[in-house]
């Protein structure tokens, strides 16, 4: 409907404040990138010609078309020299889908429509294309209307998700985290699934949480002093680190000698190491696998930044309406809520992607 392949029976569609029903449909479509599930590449044209289709319709010079084509093929990760002169039938499904994205980007349209763009490829390729596309979008910053039947894809790809239910009714519209945390209707709750709590975990990263400080000491430090500090902390373990503040291992408060100095021999195997970029889902999964309650957050050089605990993850996931009390006790603002606010702000700057989910 946005590119007027179907005309609305009522209501208006605005792009940049302009009512599209007043635009020439052909000109409108040339300004909107369009990606569909089966790619719709022209089998009789080479990859280069396929990518250049819209620029050719717009009457660009041959030289400019060619430069743009090579630029786009490179952008989607296909070597122009290798792919330019092939036919679509000589490409794999994933490669074809990339060409479809390159073609849609040809005239640098401000708005893109993607209709189940990754629906026809196998799950492994889909995952890779999704990740690549998210990275691409960070550079492109386009407004994208993305249609999918896969709620996980919607949550992963979207800054804003519109859940549509049978009969074309809008069931809920909001940031992914809000859809998962506070489904507006039973339909949405069923649609996002009973594991929506787990799904939310992959939306936030360790860096979104307020990290807990660990009690640390170096080998050679006075044991009694370290023991006293550990006893004063609610967490019963002391983290032994080297001179560069890299973790060596844990020492249980009961195992800290009452005199002498700390030695590396006291340390027991470490918790998993995570970075600020690790998703809460991965962090939790690592902790469960290692049978521990805390993960050590390290920076790029491996130095300890703090701890993430099962409890802090659970606190962050608490529904905002019930979690207010927990959030005001000084442990920092609710990470999920902050994320949602950030996303909304980004959308205001028109940098956001919009995503629609069809049920």
């Amino acid at each position: 409907m946005v590119n007027r392949l179907i005309e609305p029976t009522s209501g208006r569609i605005l792009i940049d404040g302009r009512d599209i029903s007043k635009d020439d449909p052909i000109a409108l479509r040339r300004r909107i990138g369009y990606v569909i599930q089966q790619t719709g590449l022209f089998p009789h044209q080479r990859i280069g010609e396929n990518v250049a289709v819209v620029t050719r319709l717009l009457g660009w010079s041959r030289k400019r078309q060619r430069e743009r084509t090579d630029e786009l093929l490179t952008l989607v990760g296909l070597d122009p020299a290798r792919y330019r002169d092939r036919y679509p039938s000589q490409l794999s499904g994933g490669e074809r889908q990339r060409v479809g994205v390159a073609r849609a980007l040809a005239a640098d349209p401000p708005v893109m429509l993607m209709d189940e763009p990754f629906g026809a490829v196998d799950p492994i390729v889909r995952e890779r294309l999704q990740n690549e596309f998210l990275r691409l979008q960070e550079q492109l910053a386009k407004t994208i209307l993305f249609v999918t039947h896969d709620i996980d894809e919607a949550i992963k790809m979207g800054d804003l998700v519109a859940v549509m239910q049978q009969g074309g009714e809008l069931a809920q519209f909001g940031p992914p985290d809000e859809i998962l945390a506070r489904p507006a209707t039973d339909f949405v709750a069923r649609f996002v699934g009973a594991d929506r709590g787990l799904k939310r975990l992959s939306l936030s990263r360790v860096g979104d949480l307020e990290l807990q400080t660990a009690v640390t000491a170096h080998p050679g430090d006075d044991a009694e002093e370290a023991r006293r500090r550990t006893l004063a902390d609610p967490f019963r373990y002391l983290l032994l680190t080297d001179d560069d503040h890299r973790p060596i291992g844990w020492v249980d408060q009961d195992d800290i000698p009452r005199s002498g100095v700390l030695t590396e021999a006291l340390a027991i195997p470490m918790s998993p190491l995570v970075s600020r970029r690790t998703t809460l889902k991965d962090a939790l999964s690592m902790m469960l696998a290692a049978d521990v309650v805390a993960g050590i957050v390290v920076d790029r050089t491996g130095r300890v930044l703090g701890l993430v605990t099962v409890e802090s993850i659970a606190a962050a996931m608490r529904p905002p309406d019930r979690g207010v009390g927990a959030a005001t006790d000084g442990s920092g603002p609710d990470a999920a809520r902050r994320l949602a606010a950030e996303l909304a702000a980004r959308d205001d700057q028109e940098l956001g992607r919009t995503e629609a989910t069809r049920a």
């Binding site: 479509r29 909107i32 369009y34 719709g40 590449l41 089998p43 039938s89």
Partner: protein
């Protein structure tokens, strides 16, 4: 006992190559005109049928009836109107190409994958641009298949045009039969068959040239 006349008198044939060649050229022209005019008419009718779906039934029904009329009967109907002319011959010959060509052009264009059409529309192709740049190139294999059948059929039918004095290889066959001179009718028949095979081969080549993408698929 008199020596029996041989099936083919090569010496006679050698003396009369000019005559045979002339008939062959006539035959080729009658065929080319019939197929070319038939294709143009079919193309227009096919586009009408595609744009206005309701007309497809009546168009195929009418050309279908035309197709079933025996050629001799059609000549008999036309001669009082258009005389013993090229026009009479061509009207009949063109008429027989329509059904096959229209069906194949329509099938070819409608056989273009739905997603390709949707993508073309979504990217801002107008109807004409889409037809020329997308639909026709993709319909080439089916359209050429129709042209092959229509051409081979026409080459055979042109021999009948000799009956209304339009020459062609049919004249050789006709003369040969009436004079009981086997060399003539065998020559006419063999040339006609050879022409049909060559024309068919030419279309196969044409298709290969027009659809390099189809071979790319096979080579994968």
């Amino acid at each position: 006992m008199p020596e029996r006349e041989p099936l083919i008198r090569w010496d006679w044939l050698a003396d009369h190559t000019d005559d045979s060649a002339e008939r062959l050229v006539e035959h080729i022209w009658l065929t080319v005109i019939a197929v070319a005019v038939g294709f143009v008419i079919s193309f227009v009718l096919a586009l009408v049928a595609i744009r206005r779906g309701r007309t497809y039934g009546p168009i195929t029904a009418a050309t279908g009836i035309l197709y079933t009329i025996p050629s001799l009967a059609l000549f008999a109907i036309l001669v009082p109107i258009t005389g013993l002319s090229v026009l009479t011959a061509e009207i009949a010959l063109v008429g027989y190409t329509l059904l096959i060509l229209i069906r194949n052009i329509v099938a070819g264009i409608q056989g273009v994958p739905r997603d390709v059409i949707e993508a073309a529309e979504g990217m801002g192709f107008g109807t004409a641009t889409r037809l020329i740049r997308v639909e026709l190139p993709l319909a080439v294999p089916v359209i050429v298949a129709g042209l092959r059948i229509a051409t081979v059929t026409t080459v055979g039918l042109v021999t009948v045009a000799a009956l209304i004095g339009q020459g062609g290889l049919g004249k050789l066959i006709d003369d040969g039969l009436s004079r009981r001179f086997s060399t003539l009718y065998i020559t006419g028949a063999v040339l006609s068959v050879a022409l049909a095979i060559l024309a068919d081969g030419a279309f196969v080549l044409l298709q290969r040239v027009l659809t390099p993408w189809a071979r790319a698929r096979a080579a994968r």
